[in-house]
């Protein structure tokens, strides 16, 4: 079941005005560890230490500095920072619509479900319109003192809002400037054949978080006082460039 309401706003675009409530769509599970002091297993706490006094500095004595030159800082106080936060607004403003699937996966942040706030007719019509046009809305809004950039998408028979990362945080694949290496067509052909053999539908339910289970198992065994066998990870030997073709052939034989 989706989490509780975390924010309320209204989707706005020209004549469209749809009030909604936000709910988390993701809940991560992970085994929590604590950091302990070796000698007495006391739980440790993270603190900020002054380099010269070697003692913890309480939050009220901490200042934020922007380093303009080595060891030289512009101090920014909390009120000034407050002023830089965007003005509160309840508007999810849709600026344009793009084809569904056009946004590169690298941009996607976190997803939220939207629930109609009040009358559902506008909400349902918008969800259906997005679905039929196979589009998603590119929008901006302000939430928790931050400006967000996101995609408004149809989801099931409802609506979903996914945050998007700002372009200046995303490293474009092109900027990595990998060298181009020519490949013989026969290797490509056999590679394509191999991939087709190994292809299937995406079934996310097939993948359980086994690691989490195995970790829990390890903890249970430790609890019973069992000794844990240490297994070392190994790196597998890379395929030599001149062996690529025969390795592909052998792979194909194996799966066919």
């Amino acid at each position: 079941m989706a989490g509780g309401t975390i924010w309320k706003g209204r989707i706005h675009c020209g004549g469209i005005d749809v009030p909604v409530k936000l709910h988390s769509a993701i809940r991560e599970e992970r085994v929590q560890f604590h950091l302990l002091h070796k000698r007495d297993n006391a739980k440790l706490r993270q603190v900020m230490i002054c380099a010269y006094e070697q003692k913890p500095v309480p939050a009220e004595e901490q200042a934020k500095g922007y380093e303009v030159e080595e060891g030289k800082y512009l101090i920014v106080d909390p009120e000034e920072l407050e002023h830089t936060s965007p003005k509160e607004s309840r508007l999810i403003e849709v600026h344009e619509f793009v084809g569904a699937g056009e946004v590169d996966p690298v941009f996607f942040g976190r997803a939220y479900y939207l629930e109609p706030d009040g009358k559902a007719s506008g909400y349902l019509a918008l969800a259906e319109a997005l679905r039929e046009t196979e589009t998603e809305g590119v929008c901006t809004w302000t939430m928790r003192k931050r400006s967000w950039f996101g995609a408004l998408q149809a989801s099931g028979n409802g609506l979903r809002l996914s945050t998007l990362r700002y372009a200046d945080e995303v490293v474009p694949a092109k900027s990595l400037e990998l060298a181009k290496i020519p490949l013989p067509e026969k290797e490509l052909k056999i590679g394509i054949e191999l991939i087709n053999q190994l292809s299937g539908p995406f079934q996310p339910e097939k993948f359980e978080n086994e690691h989490q289970k195995k970790l829990q198992h390890l903890i249970d065994r430790k609890a019973r006082g069992e000794k844990i066998a240490i297994l070392r990870p190994r790196r597998i030997r890379p395929t030599a460039p001149d062996k690529l073709f025969e390795t592909l052939e052998a792979s194909l034989k194996k799966v066919a």
């Binding site: 380099a51 945080e169 400037e177 060298a179």
Partner: protein, 301 residues
């Protein structure tokens, strides 16, 4: 916007804004800057190698805003060597390592006129390879006063069987390096030693030297900035350009040169411009080479 592509070490590098004058009114464009670093590469690269680079970028020239960047810019080619460091605050940071000509040219295409590096390498950030005495003239003092202090320091270090190497800061001061190149060296030790030296010089030459940072002590004196011997500090690299009116270089000097300049009272000899730097490096090679290789031990009294 001009754009041209060069091929270095098998990498294709797009260069931009080549005609941009980065040193107005002297007149020294980005093309000149790139050419300077290309020519000085044979001597500068070993001093930058494996050290986290701090960039000081002047995209609009020395008279305009600059960017001080410890992080390696995100838009970087995959072949560029980087290291991941954890800063004191716990924050992770990816830094550039300038280990070859193609990286140097890539960095200079970002208009990073000045190249700053720490005294330690990225793999051993707590191990200083040398001690530095950063001689910084206060108001009313000049580079000749620094030369006097450097010569006194040299004598004192020789008493301790330590060889030192000096370079111009490219501004008003001098930097004296004492190579150690030993795994056991620590910043605690080098800082303690450099501070003690600064304090002793101050006692013996109170009108010439101060070991204290506060402005009131620095007037008319040379401040021996011993606090540069710290893992978090960087020094401008030898052979780096400086951002100033003219493209002046932080350049190594022989002790003879320093003595001559000091005797003649000629501060101009202690300012090396880009063209002279290229000429001199071509003629006499890397005068700072031993800073990277000479093994010396700090004596324990």
């Amino acid at each position: 916007m001009s754009r041209s592509i060069v091929e270095i070490g098998g990498r294709r590098l797009p260069l931009t804004n080549l005609e941009k004058d980065l040193y107005p009114p002297y007149g020294f464009t980005k093309a000149h800057v790139l050419d300077y670093y290309r020519r000085i590469a044979p001597v500068i690269l070993s001093h930058l190698k494996d050290r986290p680079l701090t960039l000081k970028r002047y995209p609009d020239g020395v008279e305009k805003d600059y960017f001080f960047e410890k992080r390696c810019p995100g838009h970087r080619p995959a072949w560029l060597k980087t290291a991941d460091l954890v800063r004191d605050g716990g924050e992770r940071m990816t830094v550039c390592l300038v280990n070859d000509l193609e990286t140097l040219i890539w960095v200079e295409n970002l208009a990073s006129l000045e190249l700053h590096v720490p005294l330690a390498k990225a793999v051993s950030p707590k191990t200083p390879d040398s001690i530095v005495f950063d001689l910084d003239p206060g108001e009313g003092a000049n580079v000749l006063d620094c030369a006097r202090v450097a010569l006194i320091l040299r004598g004192l270090l020789l008493e301790w069987r330590l060889a030192g190497f000096v370079k111009t800061s490219g501004r008003k001061g001098l930097h004296l390096y004492v190579p150690l190149n030993r795994k056991e060296a620590t910043f605690d030790e080098t800082k303690r030693f450099s501070k003690a030296v600064a304090v002793v010089l101050e006692k013996n030459y109170p009108d010439l030297v101060t070991s204290r940072m506060a402005k009131e002590f620095r007037k008319g004196r040379v401040f021996i900035n011993w606090s540069q011997n710290d893992a978090s500090k960087t020094m401008v690299s030898v052979y780096s350009l400086r951002a100033g009116e003219k493209p002046v270089v932080s350049f190594p000097l022989s002790w003879r040169e320093l003595e001559n300049a000091s005797e003649r009272g000629d501060p101009d000899k202690l300012r090396v411009l880009h063209s002279e730097a290229v000429r001199r490096a071509g003629k006499s090679g890397d005068l700072f080479r031993q800073v990277l290789t000479k093994k010396q031990r700090l004596p324990h009294p």
